[in-house]
């Protein structure tokens, strides 16, 4: 359970990064004309849609990792199990490096990656989201959340890398579910109270998220590089 708690915490910290981009969407979704209950439902639907996409992507990434590590034990659905063979080590190294790069970008140390991640089909998504936002009804926030989940975002990429490194569809799903649930509080708050959080706090949140991702990246990398026994004891990641 512990690793998922860490992922949840990372998601929570990371969601302060989300406020920058997706918070804008949450605000744009706005309030419901039918009062407080309607507004809450609206944002719950939106976040549920987002979470579903994350889980689906997590499962896909995990299945992809599994495909690479064909020799990985099928029944070992426990995530972040000790490395089994070379393929899994290689996967862990790639995922770890990717996460470290994203973490560095969060600290503002790596500029180029940002352009790379933002350029991936961003314009189509923006057009798509704009169209959906204008349509009233309960289906809109749900659909909107689903599309929002597919938005190119370095935070999501980092956790997808983590999900892929678990080399299992179910563990990938659980990884992204933990992360997605972690982003819930901040995003829900965002829909309710808007920009209460000052820029100082937001920057601290981004640093915290970066640190978490760096930690996760380093341990994932460690699973690939270090001898099998070394990380066995702590079972943290």
């Amino acid at each position: 359970m512990t690793p998922y708690l860490v992922l949840f915490a990372a998601g929570f910290a990371g969601s302060f990064h989300c406020i920058g981009m997706c918070g804008g969407f949450a605000c744009a979704l706005g309030r419901d004309g039918r009062g407080q209950g309607g507004t809450v439902l609206r944002h719950l639907l939106y976040n549920t849609g987002r979470l579903t996409t994350y889980c689906f992507l997590g499962a896909l990434a995990g299945a992809f990792g599994q495909m690479i590590c064909t020799s990985a034990d099928f029944s070992a659905t426990l995530p972040l199990a000790e490395p089994i063979d070379f393929a899994q080590r290689a996967l862990a190294i790639v995922a770890g490096l990717l996460m470290i790069m994203i973490a560095l970008q969060f600290f503002g140390l790596l500029g180029t990656l940002h352009r790379l991640t933002a350029g991936l089909g961003g314009s189509l998504f923006a057009a798509t989201l704009r169209k959906v936002l204008n349509v009233p009804g309960h289906a809109t926030p749900l659909a909107f959340g689903v599309f929002n989940g597919f938005l190119p975002c370095p935070l999501v990429y980092a956790f997808l890398a983590q999900a892929a490194s678990t080399a299992g569809a179910v563990s990938g799903f659980l990884t992204m579910a933990a992360f997605g649930l972690g982003t819930f509080p901040a995003m829900l708050m965002m829909g309710g109270i808007g920009g209460v959080l000052g820029p100082v706090w937001r920057r601290r949140g981004v640093w915290l998220a970066g640190s978490f991702i760096l930690l996760l990246g380093l341990t994932t990398l460690g699973r690939g590089v270090l001898p099998a026994g070394m990380l066995h004891g702590d079972h943290l990641l």
Partner: protein
């Protein structure tokens, strides 16, 4: 508000209520009771492909939510999470999947089902029916299996639909992008004009604008009518009509063209014609016509799609039956389903129309109008182009090309000649005054003007008689030609030039040689076409000599002169025998029958030719230089269609084989199919990146000519008096 409260919603026909929603749709104002009705109306009635996309998106989002959940729950099923001790949960899990899958299948499947029913009513099977049959079999098998405790395939049913819908959405987005290019051209019919009547502004459809009405146009708006500015000053962009994308300054008194965009200031325009009779409106109608036609390739593709559907249905049935002999029934059904899904010929049906639409839009934005999508394909395969001479390769009116003198100054000759000729409306006379004006020579103040019909003009200048006219006039007057001038006159007439004798002081002092000059852009167009492998022919009713000279100047090798319109058609027939297909380029005014007879009739600068259906392609005025570019666009369109078809067929064939052999899961097959459609759209979208026609070469020529004109180099024997185009 109180008035509107009594109305009815245009969609659901319920009373509008106090706050109706009003939208301008297709030129008429529509009122709706709610946004839902507005969308539904647009989806049902609207041409707007944006509305279609928005509606699809909501469905897609909700269905994606359901399908992803189904996928995740199914994942646990496949993992065997509900085996052993948890097996008692299995019926509940199946029930949950059923609860998710049913709305997803209904939401996503409804458009497919609707299409199938529509086509079935007309006695046809289309590709949607493949999806419907496949998904329905997966869904109903799963419902059946649910009650028997067997494995369910709700994930297959919903994911196949989701992927197909996703493909449709991307397709709709692509079409919407293609139509955005055409939008300013199609807007003419639905445009609303603000008419000022007795100081009161009313908004009315452009069709109801009569000549003489005042129309107000705000900055950023499109000018809806042809007319003259009566108030205001602004810069406008006329590129929709002229193809030239630059801003033109307009002040009171200057004419404006419907379809141009007003940039800076508010304008008050007095309409000069009916709103529905502008060139813009005619362009709009012709583009709409072109889009509603189908090209030959498209017709073939449609036929292929039509016959492939029953074949695929039979094939998938056979595959399922074959595998059922060695596999459990659900596995055999899955393989059959994969065949059904992967053989869906959506991409084949999409291959031609998107590329053609983009091509027509691309050409139309530069002022080149196409009447039929088939023209693009014909143009792409073209190897021979025949040109009409007068008005097409040449400016179509005489200009002074040469001045032969007998010891007098050119200025003097032109001043005296124009002093006389300014009183005549004859085409040759106008050419003389234009030549003087171009050189900055003031016409001599002639007096006692007398026009001798069929001969020329007489007058006096400073008391001295002078004359300009033909040889008959000079011999009437008894003014002799020097032997030098007489020899030149013979040579000039042998060349087919027109001749004006200018005399004063009792004898002929100079000869003006006049001829039709080639358009400045003609040689660039000819060179461009030749470098694209075209054989060029000049067809003219004119004399051999002038035709040969023009051909030599612009660079055409084969000349057929002294042809009657009937003879032109015979030559076209002969050329067609030799070179398969021939295009004829004319001005569309007096060569209509010949244009109509060619494989591709191309008219330069005459939209009336399009209206009379004689020309299949119309270039803007002075747009001959664009012809090589048009050929490039046509070839790019054909190439895109061919690669699209090749890709769609090849992909289908390979995937079909893999599916029939049982290598392809239905969900994967659906992803493959959606990917195929998306690739076709993306390949077609590359047409938008075609370069604009490059006017630099022709602009350079004009600038060169412009620099030569003002120089008072009177010793130039062959003076080029080209009027600026």
């Amino acid at each position: 508000m109180s008035l509107q409260g009594e109305g009815f919603c245009d969609h659901c026909l319920l009373p509008l209520g106090r706050r109706p929603l009003q939208r301008m749709l297709n030129g008429t104002e529509r009122s709706f009771c709610c946004y839902g009705c507005c969308i539904a109306y647009q989806v049902r009635e609207g041409r707007g492909e944006d509305a279609e996309a928005a509606w699809l998106l909501i469905r897609l989002g909700v269905a994606a939510f359901l399908s992803m959940n189904i996928m995740l729950v199914s994942l646990f099923l496949y993992m065997g999470v509900f085996s052993g001790a948890d097996a008692r949960l299995l019926p509940w899990v199946h029930g949950l999947l059923f609860a998710f899958a049913t709305p997803a299948v209904v939401l996503l499947g409804q458009p497919f089902l609707q299409e199938t029913v529509q086509h079935a009513a007309a006695g046809r099977l289309n590709s949607s029916s493949l999806v419907v049959v496949g998904v329905a079999s997966a869904y109903f098998y799963s419902v059946f299996a649910m009650f028997n405790g067997a494995h369910v395939y709700f994930d297959t049913a919903s994911m196949v639909l989701l992927l197909f819908t996703l493909g449709r959405y991307l397709e709709a987005a692509g079409r919407a992008r293609a139509s955005r290019d055409l939008e300013p051209l199609l807007a003419a019919e639905s445009e609303i004009a603000t008419v000022v009547l007795d100081g009161v502004e009313t908004r009315r459809s452009v069709r109801d604008v009569m000549p003489g009405m005042l129309v107000r146009v705000l900055p950023g708006d499109r000018i809806p009518v042809d007319g003259v500015i009566s108030e205001g000053e602004s810069n406008v962009d006329e590129s929709v009509i002229t193809g030239e994308s630059r801003s033109v300054h307009k002040a009171p008194g200057t004419p404006v063209i419907a379809g141009s965009v007003n940039f800076d200031g508010p304008l008050l325009i007095r309409s000069s014609g009916a709103g529905s009779n502008t060139r813009w409106a005619r362009i709009c109608r012709s583009v709409r016509d072109a889009l509603s036609h189908r090209s030959p390739t498209q017709r073939i593709a449609d036929r292929v799609v039509a016959i492939s559907v029953p074949i695929v249905l039979a094939l998938s049935g056979l595959t399922a039956v074959y595998w059922a002999q060695s596999q459990p029934i659900d596995q055999a059904l899955l393989i059959g389903l994969a065949v059904l899904v992967v053989a869906c010929p959506c991409a084949v049906g999409l291959a031609a129309p998107l590329a053609t639409t983009l091509g027509i839009g691309r050409l139309a934005r530069c002022g080149c109008l196409v009447r039929d999508p088939g023209v693009l394909e014909a143009l792409a395969g073209l190897r021979c182009v025949a040109f009409d001479k007068t008005g097409t390769l040449t400016v179509g009116r005489p200009t002074v090309v040469d001045i032969e003198r007998d010891g007098v100054e050119t200025e003097d000759v032109l001043a005296r000649a124009s002093g006389l000729e300014q009183y005549s409306e004859h085409a040759l006379a106008r050419a003389v005054t234009a030549a003087a004006k171009l050189r900055g020579i003031r016409p001599a103040p002639a007096q006692d003007i007398r026009i001798v019909p069929g001969r020329g003009i007489l007058g006096t200048f400073g008391g001295e008689p002078m004359a300009a006219g033909n040889e008959l006039l000079m011999s009437d007057l008894g003014w002799p030609l020097s032997s030098h001038l007489r020899a030149r006159a013979c040579a000039i007439e042998a060349d087919g030039h027109s001749l004006i004798d200018v005399g004063w002081g009792g004898r002929v002092q100079a000869l003006l040689s006049l001829d039709d000059t080639p358009r400045p852009e003609a040689s660039a167009a000819v060179a461009g076409l030749e470098s694209r492998g075209m054989h060029l022919v000049l067809l003219t009713g004119d004399l051999q000599e002038p035709a040969r000279r023009i051909a030599a100047v612009v660079g055409i090798g084969q000349v057929e002169a002294r042809l009657s319109p009937e003879a032109k058609r015979q030559v076209l027939h002969r050329l067609r025998k030799e070179r398969a297909a021939v295009a004829m380029v004319g001005d569309g005014l007096n060569d209509g029958p010949v244009l109509a007879d060619a494989d591709v009739g191309i008219a330069v600068g005459s939209a009336t030719a399009l209206a009379r259906e004689t020309a299949a392609l119309v270039l803007p005025d002075g747009g001959l230089w664009m012809l090589p570019w048009v050929v490039d666009v046509a070839r790019a369109v054909r190439r895109t269609i061919l690669t699209n078809l090749l890709w769609a067929f090849g992909y289908n064939l390979i995937a079909l084989t893999a599916a029939a052999l049982g290598f392809l899961q239905p969900i994967l097959a659906a992803a493959v199919m959606a990917g195929s459609s998306v690739l076709v759209v993306m390949n077609s979208m590359r047409l938008q990146q075609l370069p604009d026609p490059d006017p630099s070469e022709i602009a350079g020529r004009q600038a060169q000519a412009f620099h030569q004109e003002p120089s008072p180099n009177t010793s130039a024997v062959k003076a080029e008096y080209q009027p600026t185009a």
